[in-house]
Amino acid sequence: MSTSMEAVASAARADAPPAIMLDKVNKWYGALHVLRDVTLNVALGERLVVCGPSGSGKSTLIRCINRLETHQEGTIKVDGIELSDDLRALDAIRREVGMVFQSFNLFPHLTILENCTLAPIWVRHMPKAEAEALAMEYLERVKIPEQAKKYPGQLSGGQQQRVAIARALCMKPKIMLFDEPTSALDPEMIKEVLETMVGLAETGMTMVCVTHEMGFARQVADRVVFMDRGEIVEQGPPGDIFENPRTDRLKLFLSQILRGH
């Protein structure tokens, strides 16, 4: 398994240092052990899909990567910088890591354009005109430039999620995290969001996606990680994981997912 994994990683970008490094990461919510000795490297340009049953710790895992959650043991390095209580390091990491949430989390009191220009202006100190031009470029790319003057509440769920992707991209991140981006969407809107994500994958962006969309995983993922009860159970190329599951836990999970679809 590990040889195929390394082959995939090196195919993505030879000899580059890993974009994300997790080493024996542990996390507890009170007495609940939610991440158990998670060790994971994500290469620059790699597309990683994390799946697993609910409560398996997959969301917690990617929320630890930009420190929306703090881990208690082990080390996490993003873009070579170690996550710690050092606020300057945290700011540096958050500038380089974009995140897309299940519930979009657009700012409802700001227009679509303002949602996209806010961080470039206030974090990257970009002039307003430049930030707006950049935002329009990305809104164009997610195919909703005509909605720029509207408020999030006036858009459909699929459109809101595409705005959320554009908003994250406006910071020109090196890494993009997706936390179940299609789980809150109606079926007919899932497709437009997945298409946007496929388009993004084709640009060579480093992506970590928590998702149950197996079609998406097959199409773009270099590697699929299966988590259960806070630990990584299996990982490998999507073909291996979906066709030849080796553990009972993965087999059970796949049968439930397939039945659900």
Binding site: N66, L68, D91, R94, R95, V97, G98, M99, F101, S103, N105, L106, F107, P108, H109, L118, A119, W122, V123, Y151, P152, G153, Q154, R167, A168, M171
Partner: protein, 369 residues
């Protein structure tokens, strides 16, 4: 079949369905019982209104010569004695401010009202507004105190009336509101010392009546000051009001902060916004919009609570009104004076209330689909 394809021409709804006639039918006379109640209430309203007009306008005495209130007393309560207002309005508005100098207090009131109007207009909501406030308040200070620019010095003890009410309310809320935002944010801080300090402040101040705070400010506080040092009594009352209003407003603001979903904080964090950028651009704009009704409710409450300063001998609008009718000639005409003073309070409070409703509708437009 082909008939169905032709759309029926739209026609206006029958007169019994829309417009004022329909409204009256549906709301006042929808059945025999509601019709009866409507008629009864209408009768009472008309009777009361006619009675008030008779007392307040037809039988009223508008002025009397040289404090000779016999004409008023002859009415025996059948008509209003507005002469007391004609005679005493300057005392009610300006208190014991020197008579020849009262134009200064009058201009101060006008500056206050102008300041409120300018601040209410959204097109003035930019950085320059702060300068306008500093300029206006400085001008009011110069006018009231004098001692410069050829104006005679008027000690603070002689200020009174509406100016005092406006000073206490304006400075009170202008300082208490920013203070309350800081305290509300502090109560949600992850730093234990800051959090404890804010909780202590809110609970301590909220736990005592405003009157006892005013007493402390006027009687106890000077005992702690070194010999010879004296802080103005009005300023001490002002600080007590700021602290008191701040504690109440802080809880209103905190209520707004708590309604925001965690996702808004997380999205702002994930974008790398600093704490102050996140708070100033994402959290507060949303939280404050949501609490406009309870905020204005508290503002209106404090505007009227400034009248409690009478307890420490400061002449605000209400105290000035009360004092105006102490003179034997004018005793017994309290109703007229209190109606007038009440009307002045009502004008300010009603303006605040109406304005807040417009502001709420305007600022929450993004919620309308």
């Amino acid at each position: 079949m082909s008939d169905a394809a032709i759309p029926t021409a739209a026609r206006s709804a029958p007169i019994t369905m829309v417009g004022p006639i329909a409204w009256v039918r549906n709301n006042l006379f929808s059945g025999w019982f509601s019709g009866l109640v409507s008629m009864l209430l209408l009768f009472l309203i008309v009777k009361w209104a006619l009675g008030f007009i008779e007392w307040g306008v037809i039988n009223a005495v508008w002025s009397v010569p040289n404090n000779q209130t016999q004409a008023c007393r002859d009415l025996k309560g059948t008509g209003a004695c507005w002469a007391v207002i004609t005679e005493k309005h300057r005392f009610i508005l300006f208190g014991t401010y020197p008579y020849e100098e009262q134009w200064r207090a009058f201009i101060s009131i006008l500056i206050f009202i102008g300041l409120f109007i300018v601040s209410a207009m959204r097109r003035f909501w930019r950085k320059e507004l702060g300068l306008i406030w500093i300029g206006a308040l400085t001008a009011i200070g110069v006018l009231m105190w004098g001692g410069v620019l050829g104006l005679n010095y008027v000690p603070q003890e002689r200020w009174g009336g509406l100016v005092i009410t406006l000073i206490l309310a304006t400075f009170g809320l202008a300082f208490a509101f920013p203070l309350s935002i800081l305290v509300a944010l502090g109560r949600r801080s992850k730093l234990p010392a800051i959090k404890a300090l804010c909780v202590l402040y809110v609970e301590l101040i909220r736990g005592v009546p405003l009157i006892s705070l005013l007493f402390m400010a006027s009687v106890m506080f000077p005992l702690f000051l070194p010999e010879g040092m004296n802080i103005d009594k009005l300023l001490r009352a002002q600080i007590a009001i700021i602290l008191f209003a701040g504690a109440y407003l802080a809880e209103v603001v905190r209520g707004g902060l708590q309604t925001l979903p965690r996702g808004q904080y997380e999205a702002a964090d994930a974008l790398g916004l600093s704490y102050w950028a996140k708070t100033g651009l994402i959290i507060l704009p949303q939280a404050l919009r949501l609490v406009i009704p309870p905020l204005v409710n508290t503002f209106i409450g404090f505007f009227k609570d400034t009248s409690l300063v009478l307890i420490i001998g400061i002449f605000d609008l209400l105290t000035a009104g009360k004092t105006a009718i102490i003179e034997p000639a004018w005793q017994g005409f309290g109703i007229e004076v209190y109606l007038t003073v009440g009307f002045i309070y009502f004008c300010f409070c009603f303006a605040m209330s109406r304005y807040s409703q417009n502001l709420e509708a305007e600022l929450n437009q993004h919620r309308v689909r």
